[in-house]
Amino acid sequence: MRTKRWLAFGLLAVTLLLVSCSKDLPQNTMNPAGPTAQTEKNLLVLVLWPAALVFLIVEGGILLISIRYRHRKGRDRMPAQLHGHTRLEIGWTIAPAIVLAVIMVPTVSTIWQLARQPADAMQITVEGYQWWWGFSYTDPDMQTAYGDHGPIMTADVMVIPAGRTIDLSLTSLGGGAHSTNGIPDHQVIHSFWAPRLFGKQDVIPGDQTNHIVFSADEPGTYYGQCAEFCGLQHGRMKFRIVALDAAGWQHWVEAERQPAATPTEQLAKQGMDLFFGTNGEGGQCIQCHSIGGTDAAATAAPNLTHFASETHQCFAGCDFETTDEAALKAWLADPNAVKLGAKMPDYGLTPDQIDALVAYLYSLK
């Protein structure tokens, strides 16, 4: 009978091992890919040892006591009526206090270490909307080469150079759709979390800007999602961080600084006309979306300048792969049907219009 309980405990002990062993989990906190997540993991592992020891002593103790002193039929003993043992009790009050105090030392020093914002870090502003993420590269050497030379802006995927320290400024900018009086709709609290790179910090609307400082050790794709309940589609507000090697990063920055490509192919041109409403048809897109180097400069929805670039792997809150043409078409046909509550309205587009728009979007490399 007792073995069943041991099985349960054993299961728990094994689980933690299993978590750290599994390499396939895209959001595994126990498989860090950068110093911030590594530091956070190290602290956890440090604490898990004394925790495991306490677990074994206490649960083992309860088990042994239960077996040793269980009532045996026919043997009615009256046990000694111990009321307590003051020195023992003081001892087992002080001992845990000491263990905890010891644990608090690296804890506190790590709190301060992680709060540091190095002056030479690359500055990126993270914008939380219901239910997608926008990224704005605010460093002077990340300005676009067109228009009023604003920051490079992307959505769903944050591209960074591997190995470089990044300082994220987290802002909540609301619901994306039609804002009133210039105040964004539905600014709510979000939380920015890419488990393999860093623990989360909340994104608070108003004048509070939280920071996350991190770097990615190696080039690769790292997955994350919003981690503070923010309404209907909280569970599908995802993002990715793509870390590039030095050459890839140079290439990417150069491409991003350029304005959007003007399509040459016929269908894509039709799509562009629809997008901007050039021929009196369509034109709703530019009410919310922006395309670099054009008049479309609204910020209520993702920036689509380089929608089809190689690093822009996903769209609509990073819920669908950009290369998934069927998903893109379904989204354009009725966003709310594929993502309940999506703030992009259903514009009643015909399949032909959708095909044209898709062609245009895919031309935005």
Partner: protein, 621 residues
């Protein structure tokens, strides 16, 4: 035998009822024991509803990209699951035990304010029904039990307005109950029952009432502010007007952290009663256990921002609260050692109450350890808002509190209902529940560290966590099976004729076991005179020089009833005014939602209720 007085009263607006039996008497009762049963039955019913909500959650999460529930339905269900389990199950079930047993354990005939006691029950029930009526009136609360604005204040569905009003109503009920029970414990103890001769269950009860009395007002203010923001577009949490969403979080957690101790201390009290009885030796270190309970009460108000480590309070605040959180682990943890010390060297009888109590202790330890990992602030940046936290609090709340409460149910069932629950099926329930519970929540540690956030209605297969989600779902249905077993056990038990062969079936230690089962309406023929901690035990057993027990021959007690004194036992009559007054408040609540006329009607009803209550005579004459 009550002398039925049926002469119409001259005083009071309407004749005060006298009947203490019959179905109507349940609506007018002010007897703490009946009220305890009302709380218990209502709480259990809500437990089943909350459990159904949990099963829906687990069914939805059994596979990736599942479409059993859509996002909107899921958000309502997980919100109601949390609200139901916390406010409509654990708290009122604890109230059931406090109401029934505190007066008996301190040798009193009832609580200090019996009608206020009834008012608290009815307002709790009406508040819970009010909250649930939202399903039919536009949508249930969907912003999480913690209701963070601006999401909760800007959500277009009506649900979060029901949330704000509903919790204000139940909060008033709990506050009134808190004052009532606190005064009862402080002021109505039998002669000789000093504070340090009170059972630990009563001590934990006392600490809980003070936690309630001081934490509820804070969240009440927060709830009014949320209500005003939603209903009248005030600016408390509106960033555009300069409002700070974090104000809600601070006010909320100032309440909600003490709340977690409100949820666990009753179970700690029950465990502290069960372990000594079934180990046949006293609680090891009574004073340490009492003082650690008091310490938790105080320190519990100093750790609230550990729920906010990732909101950007800054390193100073995070350091301070990390340290206070580590500090509170000490009084919480040492109780475990005291309980182990109680069992050590004892003669352990593993009847179902004991299994539940030992199960509660061992499961709580796991939750406590994961709690300590939360105190390691930078690691908490990874843990918070993930399933790791869900694992932690279910281990302490389900593992600790729910197992503890079931222990109390099995332990005290014979006292309340004069029948014993079936032992075999009780053990079956325990083991299935233990296994199911660990299968459900154990894997959640992996889910959390493996990258699964809380409160998401679905997840992709690419997350790689499908398997453990499935395990958790299987576990949840096992828990449901165990609860079903309990329900059948309870029904079959109650269908038998009442009557215990042995009115002290567990050879217990405390005063409630000196009465008949169930106790008469007046509890004690004679108010007992108390000479020691574990008074009842010491009437049965004395200790020799080596601390060994000798059975006291019957009749050697020096508490022989004083047959010379003529006495009558004074009991207040039942009353329906508490119910009437309580009914006025949810009517005001509906009025806030729909119409000022309803507000007026509700206020009038409440005032009439309170006036009738004030003016009725203490007894019908």
């Amino acid at each position: 035998m009550a002398t039925a007085a049926s002469v119409p009263a001259h005083r009071g607006i309407i004749r005060r009822p006298t009947a203490t039996t019959g179905w109507l008497s349940w609506f007018t009762t002010i007897d703490h024991k009946k009220i305890g049963i009302l709380y218990g039955v209502s709480a259990f019913a809500f437990f089943l509803v909350g459990g159904a909500e949990a099963l829906l959650i687990r069914a939805q999460l059994a596979k990736p990209d599942n479409t059993l529930l859509n996002a909107d339905q899921y958000n309502q269900i997980f919100t109601m699951h949390g609200l139901t389990m916390i406010f409509l199950f654990v708290m009122p079930m604890s109230a059931a035990f406090f109401n029934y047993f505190i007066p008996l354990m301190i040798g009193a005939r009832d609580v200090a304010f019996p009608r206020l006691n009834a008012f608290s029950y009815w307002l709790f029930l009406f508040g819970g029904l009010f909250l649930y009526s939202s399903w039919f009136l536009g949508g249930a609360p969907n912003g999480g039990w913690f209701g963070y604005p601006p999401n909760s204040t800007t959500d277009p569905s009506i649900g979060m307005t029901f949330y704000a009003i509903g919790l204000i109503l139940t909060g008033i009920a709990s506050s009134a109950g808190a004052i009532n029970l606190a005064v009862t414990v402080i002021n109505m103890r039998a002669p000789g029952m000093t504070f340090f001769r009170m059972p630990v269950f009563v001590w934990m009860g006392l600490v809980v009432q003070f936690l309630l009395a001081f934490s509820l007002p804070i969240v009440t203010v927060a709830l009014f502010e949320m209500l005003f923001d939603r209903r009248w577009q005030t600016n408390f949490f509106e960033p555009a007007a300069g409002g700070k969403p974090l104000l809600w979080q601070n006010l909320f957690w100032l309440f909600a952290h003490p709340e977690v101790y409100i949820l666990i201390l009753p179970a700690f009290g029950i465990i502290s009663e069960i372990l000594p009885v079934f180990s046949r030796k006293p609680l090891f270190g009574y004073q340490f256990v009492v003082f650690s309970g008091i310490a938790i009460g105080f320190i519990g108000f100093g750790v609230w921002a550990h729920h906010m480590f990732a909101v950007g309070l800054g390193p100073v605040a995070n350091t301070a609260f990390g340290i206070t959180t580590a500090i509170i682990a000490v009084p919480t943890g040492i109780k475990i050692f005291n309980w182990m010390g109680t069992m050590y060297g004892g003669d352990l009888h593993f009847d179902t109450p004991m299994l539940m109590a030992v199960g509660a202790v061992s499961m709580f330890v796991i939750g406590g350890l994961s709690g300590v990992t939360h105190a390691v602030v930078p690691s908490d940046y990874q843990q918070t808002d993930t399933y790791y936290v869900v694992a932690h609090f279910h281990y302490v709340l389900f593992g600790g509190a729910v197992f503890g409460l079931f222990g109390g149910i099995y332990y005290w069932w014979p006292k309340v209902f004069a029948r014993m629950l079936n032992e075999f099926w009780g053990k079956v329930q325990f083991w299935i529940m233990l296994i199911g519970f660990n299968l459900t929540f154990g894997p959640m540690h992996i889910l959390g560290l493996g990258g699964m956030i809380r409160r998401e209605y679905t997840y992709p297969a690419s997350l790689g966590l499908t398997f453990w989600n499935q395990v958790a779902t299987v576990g949840a249905f096992l828990i449901a099976l165990s609860v079903l077993i309990f329900i059948v056990n309870a029904i079959v038990t109650q269908l038998r004729k009442p009557g215990l062969e042995n009115e002290d079936p567990w050879d217990a230690r405390t005063l409630e076991w000196t009465t008949s089962s169930p106790p008469p309406v007046y509890n004690f023929e004679e108010i007992p005179v108390v000479h020691a901690l574990d008074e009842f035990w010491h009437r049965k057993y004395a200790e020799d020089k080596e601390g060994r027990l000798i059975r006291v021959p019957a009749g050697a007690s020096d508490d022989a009833p004083d047959t010379h004194r003529e006495h009558a036992i004074h009991l207040p009559s039942p009353s329906f005014w508490p119910l009437v007054a309580a009914l006025g408040l949810p009517v005001i609540g509906y009025g806030v939602l729909y119409s000022w006329w309803l507000v007026g009607a509700g206020a009038l009803l409440a005032i009439v209720g309170f006036m009738g209550w004030a003016m009725e005579p203490p007894v019908a004459d």
